[in-house]
């Protein structure tokens, strides 16, 4: 199959995808039960939306001012626990990086892995902003922090075992 027929085959397969798929079980009973226990959220009034737009226009200024005055990250306002945890981890990470800087590297791609873990850390913090008390997310963030330290430590050979 050449490139263009390959491309066409994929295009055709996308077009042929069924619009509907049948679940294996009846989902309605579960939805009905959950809905009976769930309260509806009321729509935000328009005046609030307008106020929000005005506030949004001032947000960059407020952000910079707040950051300058307090020297803190405003994203952690709803998660007071996050700032000390992050600060403690960053300190450990920097100390570890300093300690291993003159050790020979065992693996070549550890920086890439570290970068991906840092991206995961940012995504988790982002997710925590919408669900600040989610224990699963908090646990995963701790795991990602630990993995970063592990990768830095394991990718460098300790001096005492060098020949």
């Amino acid at each position: 199959m050449n490139y263009s027929s390959n491309e066409q085959a994929l295009e055709q397969a996308i077009n042929d995808l069924p619009k509907e798929l049948e679940p294996s079980r009846d989902l309605w009973a579960g939805i009905e039960q959950a809905v009976a226990k769930t309260e509806q959220e009321h729509a935000k009034p328009t005046i609030y939306s307008n106020w929000k737009s005005i506030a949004a226009a001032f947000l960059p200024i407020a952000f910079l001012a707040g950051f300058y005055i307090n020297g803190s990250n405003p994203n952690t306002d709803t998660m007071p626990w996050l700032e000390p945890v992050t600060a403690s981890f960053e300190l450990q990470k920097q100390q570890l990086l300093k300690r291993v800087s003159d050790h020979p590297q065992i693996t070549n791609n550890w920086q890439q892995s570290l970068k991906e873990l840092e991206q995961a850390e940012q995504s988790l913090k982002q997710a925590l902003k919408s669900q600040p008390g989610d224990p699963a997310l908090m646990k995963m963030l701790t795991h990602v922090y630990q993995r970063q330290l592990d990768i830095i430590a394991k990718s460098h050979q300790p001096k005492y075992i060098q020949i």
Partner: protein, 208 residues
Amino acid sequence: MTGNVIQPAAFKQRQNNADDEQGWIEQLKQGKQTALKPLYDKYGKQVYALCYRLSGDAELAEDICQEVFVQVWKKIGNFQGDSQFSTWLYSVTSFQAINYMRKQKRWWQSWFVDKDSTSGEAMVDTIPTNDEQHDFALFRSGLDKHIANLPQQARIVFVLFAIEGWRHEEISKELNIAVGSSKAQYHRAKKLLKEALTLEEQNRGVVA
């Protein structure tokens, strides 16, 4: 002459359907739980299809699909009618599916796996054999089985971009990745799907 011209009866039917849907939405906004059922009957299988394609897991997709309709009930007040209800519903579905998957261990594991470990060949190998399919009621045909076998990030980007029509800018924002990463994941998904389709074609030729 019929062609594509909408006949009065068909037009009337379509108009009635739209009116019905509008009525259910209004009732839902007024807190009538019974109005959710006709919307589920109309859109449930489409929502499930999107959940399945995004998650690649039939069981998880069922849980997400249920959660989507609970969210529709909860947040219907936010639907202002600026777009079609179906557009709003698919958008709720995509956000809900991604949020739901974020809470799964597999989501975070996908950050740690070797990015080149999946090949089209490996994807074809994971397709159930005929014997396995016999008891596998949820086996999907066509492209769906290959989409389900894509690596997680590539699958989500592919479904949102190629099937749902999102822009890479929107995808990158939702997944908290760079626009370039979104494009790279899309090309990776396309490459893997083409390889899988080619191999499947070749295997079919050998069997025949």
